[in-house]
Symmetry: C2
Subunit: 337 residues, 2 copies
């Protein structure tokens, strides 16, 4: 019996489960010794409306340039809360482990989770671990849920885009998807491309403070990329949107890998990017505010909400044409998050 | 392309994902057409402390006598909240699907989830769906998290067992574990055994109302069974506990299968049972109250907290001896929840 491996008994709820929790999972996630263990965590009272979200993470590989499945699981859930304009407070963690998974890798992933949570100012307060037999899962799946508090009265949601709004992105597109795929396939051309995975709650707080009620929509273009997210918002808000191809920030290395593989970066996943829909008269100062944040140095206005058919999205191409933008139709990069 | 199967593209975040969400997942889980979709759900304000928990479910088979992975995922999380004395309010659902999983089975499972949620009085308010390639997961894994409100000032937790407390269980032990295993292995002797999976929040509300501050600990003996849970509480509360073998309610069919397979029902999982530690002078009336509830007809006092070594658990056997009870050491029944 190799003590470096996860065993079925670690998911039994019995003695081995307790050992794994006490020796590895709880101290690594919390940074402290296990405290009283109960069926649920008690949360301190907060003033304000609460936002609540969940995401499952199945990324392959679990270690990729710029992150791990652990930090990704924290960032993804923190960002979903931030996109409601909420301040993320608490996370839960559900681990599904494959029998034979490395305890050492588990420790690295959980350490990465804790560091990501600390950096984002959120606390992991409750969790659960299951183990399935070899071949019944792929190493590790993580499901995080999160609770945040909304401390303002703004209406920030996908049905709130208005004609005239400028659409701002905080940097380059496609980095996460291409970094993960390059990591998985060992693509040499992908060397140097890193995931943009990051917690956006600090940046959102700065945007909310600067924009106030000029801020109409926030959304993170993850699976399906910028194109799918923009199309979603155009539908929810029943507006027409025009994107400007030349304005889209793309890392040249990402553009290179995309050309090589016939991918469009507009459909590739991001994990540290947001789209902010901002009233035209506030757009320049919000852009300046975003550029002053370390996660927004390459921010740009990439399009506008305009008159026209509800749900329509078009791209002004570099050669002056207009082409229709649709949602990602199938699956171009499975298990990207 | 068989339209009855889940495809990788259903996890892409693109058009297929939206179709699956709009046509199947959201209407089935919510019972209504999809409403505005945002990154997180907004929760109504509530008065009281909040409890927060999560659990992942990997049970095999996903349909078993007395339930499905869907109702189990609702009951498990509802019960974890109820064991804090909280009133469960909201659930999140993270689905991990294997490519090729049957859409029809998914619909049956989600319907079972919704019915379980409605019966328990909780709302499923947010969710996420991922799809992994064939062979990278086993059909379906579900991670639920839940939030509840604590509307009393009682201290109900695992460190609160006191010398003299009576330990009450609301019915027979081992039904869930044996039902799942019989379902999985096709054991004929298991015919007629059904999982006890049930939401315990209604029963807990009745117990809290009857017992008041005579109620010291509540816990549901799931993975690891009654033995492991009692051992946990003895450790957390630094008390000694004596169980009475003859007092343990066991369904004769469960006892039969356990004898056949060399299992001890004391270590087999339950999903609709709770252990209530109650001050001696309130024990009889709390027992009566539990027996009046449809989930407590076979309730019994199965042991007491006594003077002695902290963390020690012993069983008074039918022949009058005392034997030590330890936690489940390894894994006797993998993937029971």
């Amino acid at each position: 019996m190799n003590s470096d491996l996860i065993l079925l008994g670690h998911g039994s709820g019995g003695r081995l489960s307790h050992q794994l929790l006490d020796e590895l999972i709880i101290p690594t996630l919390s940074g402290t010794a296990p405290a009283a263990r109960n069926d649920a965590a008690l949360l301190e009272p907060v003033a304000g409306r609460l936002a609540y979200t969940t995401d499952s993470f199945v990324v392959d590989p679990v270690f990729f340039p710029g992150g791990t499945i652990g930090s990704l699981a924290v960032h993804g859930t923190v960002n979903d809360l931030a996109m409601m304009g909420a301040r993320p407070l608490w996370l839960s963690v559900g681990l599904i482990l494959e029998e034979g998974f490395s305890r050492n890798d588990l420790q690295l992933i959980l350490t990465d989770m804790r560091q990501a949570a600390e950096a984002a100012g959120v606390r992991i307060v409750t969790g659960d671990t299951k183990v399935v037999p070899r071949g019944k899962a792929d190493r590790i799946f993580i499901t995080t849920s999160g609770i945040g508090v909304i401390e303002h009265e703004l209406a920030i949601h996908g049905a709130n885009a208005r004609v005239g709004d400028a659409i701002i992105i905080n940097g380059t597109i496609g980095d996460h998807g291409i970094a993960v795929m390059a990591g998985r396939e060992g693509i040499k051309a992908g060397t140097g491309i890193r995931s943009d995975s990051a917690a956006l709650n600090g940046l959102v707080a700065a945007i909310v403070a600067e924009a106030g009620d000029s801020l109409h929509v926030l959304r993170d273009p993850t699976r399906g990329g910028v194109a799918t997210t923009i199309k979603e918002i155009a539908g929810q808000s029943a507006v027409s949107i025009t994107l400007v191809e030349e304005a889209l920030p793309v890392n040249p290395a990402v553009r290179g890998v995309c050309s090589l593989l016939g991918l469009d970066p507009l459909f590739v996943a991001n994990e540290g990017k947001l789209l902010a829909f901002v009233a035209a008269d506030a757009a320049e100062r919000v852009l300046t505010c975003i550029r002053q944040h370390h996660l927004g140095v390459q921010a740009a206005i990439i399009g506008h909400v305009c008159e026209g058919d509800a749900g329509r999205v078009r791209m002004e191409t570099s050669v002056g044409g207009l082409r229709a933008v649709e949602m990602l139709a199938g699956e171009q990069l499975p298990r990207i998050c």
